[in-house]
């Protein structure tokens, strides 16, 4: 753990080159996408609806088999997205998730802890932060969309994987929870790398070290440090109402 913390942000964690992905082979959703995630950074992936954000996360998660890629490495070593050795290192919170409906949040978090063979951290603190106390022992099927989202978000942050992937994490959350989520996202670099997709510009500008703009299946521009401001990114998206 200490070694992890001492890693500098400049080291490459995950590198993906020439990724094309599809649901229908004649219509590619991702086209020759390449990106690099560094150790202990927060990366925002922004794009309009249908740009391929969720598809990209599905490929990394190993859920989409329709893809081709020229290179994929984790800390310089080749990986397979479906191998447990890679899966151990990442957790994904999907934009919509109706799984484990007959588990309570506490059942689910125990299940995840068991699957990853890892301890969970700061669960009670996050339950308070998300105002989730009343719902921790309620079946997931009986929770509202926002509270279901909180259950999976708390699990992801409590697991502290080396890569935490969040697909549209802000969707469905109330104002207070959104603010709390921003603080969790911004602070995650202490534990690992976080990549999240969003089409809400504020969520990206307030939390990210790096912003990638995904358009028509590939990364069209990247912003870092002072470049990360709403006006510049809006201009890059060529869309005024983000």
């Amino acid at each position: 753990m200490l070694q992890d913390k001492e890693r500098t942000m400049s080291e490459t964690l995950l590198e993906i080159n020439g990724l094309s992905a599809w649901y229908d082979p004649s219509k590619k959703v991702l086209k020759d996408l390449s990106l690099e995630l560094k150790e202990n950074e927060v990366v925002g992936l922004i794009g309009l609806n249908g740009a391929g954000k969720t598809t990209f996360l599905k490929v990394i998660t190993g859920l989409l088999k329709g893809y081709e890629i020229s290179g994929k490495t984790f800390r310089g070593e080749n990986i397979e997205f479906r191998d447990n050795s890679f899966k151990d290192k990442r957790y994904v919170v999907f934009a919509e998730d109706r799984s484990f409906q007959y588990f309570t949040f506490r059942d689910y978090i125990s299940y995840v802890s068991h699957a990853y063979r890892k301890e969970m951290h700061d669960v009670d603190e996050m339950i308070k932060g998300f105002h989730f106390e009343e719902y921790a022992d309620v079946l997931l099927k009986d929770l509202s969309t926002g509270n279901q989202k909180k259950a999976f978000l708390i699990t992801g942050f409590a697991l502290r994987p080396e890569i935490l992937l969040l697909d549209e994490p802000v969707n469905g959350l109330d104002f207070q929870s959104t603010e709390y989520l921003y603080s969790l996202i911004a602070g995650y670099k202490k534990y690992g790398t976080l990549l999240f997709s969003s089409h809400i510009l504020e969520s990206i500008t307030l939390t990210s070290d790096r912003v990638m703009v995904l358009e028509e299946g590939h990364i069209t521009s990247t912003f870092e440090g002072d470049q990360i401001n709403a006006t510049v990114i809006r201009e890059a998206l060529k869309y005024d109402d983000v």
Partner: protein
Amino acid sequence: MMFKAFAKKLFGLRYGRILRTVIICVIIYMGISSAGYEVAIAPRILYLMSAVVTAVMMWQGMTSSDTEDYIRNMMMMPFDRKAFLASYIGTLGIYVLLSKTLLVWALVFALTKFGLSVILCSLCAALCAVVMTGCFLAVRKRFLMITWIVAVIGSVFLIDKALIMICIFGVCILVSVLIFSGVDAYAFYDVFCNRGAGKSRVRGRKGGFVFTYLMRYMMTHKNYIINTMFMWAFGVAIPVFSFAVIGREDPEMSRMFVYLGYGLVVMNTPLCILVSCDPDLERGIRCLPKGGVSFFVPYGLFLFVNTCINCCPTRATGQAKDQ
């Protein structure tokens, strides 16, 4: 833990659905067998019924969008391949056997008395259908699998001895388990991958929206069409059974049995429970101005046409038996 996750989804929080189904089966069995009706059913028909009902329901379970939602998160996490396969196929198999096949057995065993070897053989046929359906979905070598299925069905028709059939089903189960040992668990998720491809544009309509919706609904859920076909087949089988059992003694009673049984069957087709099983659709309809009228009138007409088409073979069967 994985087994528990699947079991809770399929059987409910405290596995209450198992008890409910078993009680229904006991009531059906007791009710029909106490009436003293008897029908001669060949053992091979029993084996085929057990296998086909189980296989169709397994297929439906493994390809439903509900299952996709459920296994996606599980597959995202690290998991043990063997544990996943055993839990997934095992729980779904138990669910299908207890909730679907057992109902068929309750009905058939109440009408016909079989020896222990035939009962055991039908159980093996159903178990064989569970694992072979899993193999079919995971392996996707259609020619090989169809040849295998044809060989099994052929042996059911050619071989009379129940013990030999038990051995054949046993070998099929063993071969399926061996195949499973090399199967990638993701194969069960990959069946859903191409569903994203269905984002093709469709031509807009100027009218008949509800009919269009219902047709698209049926075409998207092809397993519902199969399910409805089975219900229709059941609708045809009921008059055959009722006329064979009580028709000669009491034609009026047998006719009533036909209408009652047929009504129950029709009410449970996926089309008939379209609104009640889709709360989002129901909410959407209620929110529309005059939503009730604009949706339910065409929906009722669609069901009426569907039921009329459905009635033809049932009525024809009933009339043939009357004569």
